[in-house]
């Protein structure tokens, strides 16, 4: 304390003191991010350019072979499927989440917190357990099939599990709150008297939605979509449990390279590729947002 006092007294102007206080406050966060985020990331980048070690790890020899291997169409197929599944998930989350967020935000204030809580409650259960619950629902002798068979609607059980649809279902289930919460945050600030104004000026419900509500909540839509899309692309637990051999995603590939194939450098190269591809939409978003602000 005395050392701090001594130091801050040596700073002449208020400006200097403020800068000093600010850097003091920012130090823990900056330190943490540097040590546990930037450094590991750099290690991944570094590894992707090194030879693989026999039992995992790396040999310290520069190579570009892992990036050359990425050109193999097999990996592009997996990447394409990951992007498609994540895009589907994002779109469906938006279609399901937007009306829900709108509904919650337009309730009287005393109801909103309760309704939001209901959205968040599933989070309190372990993610794995919740995905296993989907297996119980979807498998051949699961809830849905038993129900359909008891009504004699189907002769033999449907194959609901271990395909892309099951993975998409699981992803939507897992990431829906990430869509609803930012949407709610924007819709809560939405001035609902603008709906009256639009109706008053001759806009029906659809036109009001397109011309007024969607543009004014675009930030929430983009934020929610990014929050769903980015983790969904890299997902490996959900496709691992609910997907079959044909619905393997990038996350599974990275996962298997590190743990099963013990090819750390190739796993690293895959991660870098994925990161680059996920980064692209964010950069585009920020560029557009910047232009809008300047306009």
């Amino acid at each position: 304390m005395t050392l701090l006092n001594w130091f801050s007294q040596r700073l002449k102007t208020n400006q200097q003191r403020q800068t000093f206080a600010l850097s003091l406050l920012l130090f823990p966060g900056t330190f943490w991010l540097l040590l546990f985020f930037v450094v590991p990331l750099l290690i991944v980048v570094l590894y992707s350019f090194l030879e693989r070690g026999t039992y995992g790890g790396v040999d310290w020899q520069f190579t570009l072979e892992h990036y050359a291997r990425l050109l193999n169409p097999i990996y592009w197929g997996v990447l394409g499927r990951s992007l498609l599944l994540a895009a589907n998930t994002t779109l469906l989350c938006l279609l399901v989440g937007y009306p829900m967020a709108f509904f919650i935000a337009s309730r009287p204030a005393r109801w909103r917190n309760t309704l939001l809580l209901l959205v968040i409650i599933p989070f309190w259960t372990n993610f794995l357990v919740r995905i296993y619950a989907w297996i119980v629902i979807l498998r051949q002798e699961g809830v849905i099939n038993t129900f359909l068979e008891s009504l004699h609607l189907v002769g033999e059980p449907l194959d609901l599990l271990f395909n892309s649809t099951a993975v998409t279902l699981g992803l939507i289930y897992g990431y829906l709150p990430f869509m609803i919460l930012p949407l709610y945050a924007t819709l809560e600030r939405f001035d609902f008297s603008l709906l009256d104004a639009a109706h008053d000026l001759g806009a029906n419900d659809l036109k009001t939605l397109i011309r007024i509500v969607l543009p004014l909540t675009a930030r929430g839509i983009v934020a929610g979509s990014l929050l769903v899309f980015i983790p969904a692309v890299g997902e490996f637990v959900t496709p691992d449990l609910l997907g079959g051999a044909k619905s393997i995603m990038m996350g599974n590939l990275v996962h298997s390279q590190f743990l099963a194939a013990r090819n750390w450098p190739f796993g690293s190269a895959l991660s870098i590729l994925m990161m680059a591809i996920v980064l692209a939409p964010i950069l585009i978003y920020f560029r557009i947002a910047e232009q809008k602000l300047n306009a």
Binding site: D191, S193, D196, H199, D200, L201, P215, L216
Partner: protein
């Protein structure tokens, strides 16, 4: 011709714990074409609900809203030739001034060229030329209000509704806008329906107004009818300042009646000869219609009273005069001459003169029988 008619309209909302709240209670109103009509009342009196039912944002629980004689039924707002200027203006924040004004025309599918011309014309009308590219948040309150007005007027509505549009403006700007709106209405000949809680605003601008309380219409009339001939104690009390004297008819003559106020003070009122003896009435008299005079031995005209309080207010002086044991009168004495030293003193006996034609007689009121009883009640 009648532009808007409300026939026996009620609106019931479900409040807390599913309790029914009757915001509008069996209202009948007929608003003439080209009229500046105000709905005046304090908050919660149902005036905004009536406006929202005319616009179509709310549907009546009972009764019918008619436009030019045609029942509106459950027709949505976007199918009614009626537009609204909202209390907080409700401008679209993501659109420019010009886009805001153009919005209603785009919904009608007006051609680009005509749309552009009409938007410029309306912005000129509300004196906002050159502001086309601005966004609402870059405008002052008064300018936003003009955009809201232009946005509604561009639709050439048959009826224009205002929901306390001047509430957020400061007093000076408010007065300016009041006059401007009034002129605009006279120029355009559109029916204006104007909701306000500000009685001065309603009296200044309206051709006619309705005074509302507890979801019911208390009185409809021109500003002078409402002020000079209030039909009930509520209206007399709500609009301006009033003195109330409760008394009983004790005598009938050819020319009028005599009312005994508080069992001690007889006052002669011309007319009302059909009122039976014994009928309890309330006499309403406005403070500025009473004149106060110094007592002289020779002059015995007027009512005798004792001054309780004198407040000098610049333009006039407000006196509170004890008339009977139970009743006081407020008197506003116009300061037509410069008052260097006070005309009266507190405690002085003076004479109050009232032209009996200036009394408004209400057929309501409860007699206070004895002084003891009322003073007990007060404690």
């Amino acid at each position: 011709m009648t532009a808007i008619e409300l026939v026996n309209v009620s609106k019931v909302f479900l409040g807390e714990q599913q309790r029914e709240v009757r915001a509008v209670d069996h209202v009948d109103l007929a608003i003439q074409t080209g009229e500046f009509f105000s709905l005046l009342g304090s908050s919660g009196c149902g005036k905004t609900t009536i406006l929202r039912m005319i616009a179509g944002f709310e549907l009546p629980t009972e009764g019918e809203v008619l436009l030019n004689g045609e029942p509106m039924g459950d027709r949505p707002p976007f199918h009614r030739p009626i537009n609204t200027v909202f209390q907080n203006y409700a401008l679209f924040p993501h659109l420019t001034v010009a886009q805001n004004v153009a919005f209603g025309l785009e919904m009608e599918g007006v051609s680009k060229a005509e749309l552009h011309a009409r938007v410029l014309e309306l912005l000129a009308l509300v004196q906002l030329k050159g502001f086309e590219k601005r966004r609402p948040h870059q405008l002052s309150g008064g300018q936003q209000q003009r955009v809201a007005l232009a946005r509604a007027l561009v639709k050439k509505p048959q009826v224009l509704l205002f929901d306390e549009p001047l509430g957020a403006l400061d007093l000076k700007l408010r007065k300016e806008m009041q006059l401007e709106l009034k002129h605009m209405q006279q120029q355009l000949g559109i029916t204006f329906i104007y909701v306000t809680h500000d009685q001065e605003e309603a009296l200044t601008m309206s051709d006619r107004l309705a005074v509302l309380s507890a979801g019911q219409v208390q009185q409809v009339g021109t500003p002078s009818e409402i002020y000079e001939q209030p039909n009930c104690r509520f209206v007399a009390d709500f609009i301006g300042e009033s003195n109330f004297l409760v008394g009983q008819v004790i005598e009938q003559e050819a020319a009028g009646i005599i009312v005994l106020v508080d069992g001690e003070l007889p006052i002669a009122i011309p007319g009302y000869t059909d009122l039976p003896i014994g009928k309890v009435v309330t006499l309403v008299i406005r403070p500025e219609k009473i004149t106060a005079h110094r007592q002289t031995p020779t002059d015995e005209a007027g009512l005798l009273g004792k001054i309780q309080e004198i407040v000098y207010l610049g333009m006039n002086t407000r006196l509170i005069v004890q008339l009977t044991a139970q009743s006081q009168l407020i008197v506003r004495q116009q300061n037509v001459k410069r008052i260097i030293s006070p005309m009266f003193e507190v405690g002085e006996q003076i004479r109050l003169r009232i032209n009996p034609d200036n009394f408004q007689v209400l057929l309501e009121g409860t007699l206070r029988t004895s002084v003891q009883k009322t003073s007990k009640l007060r404690r």
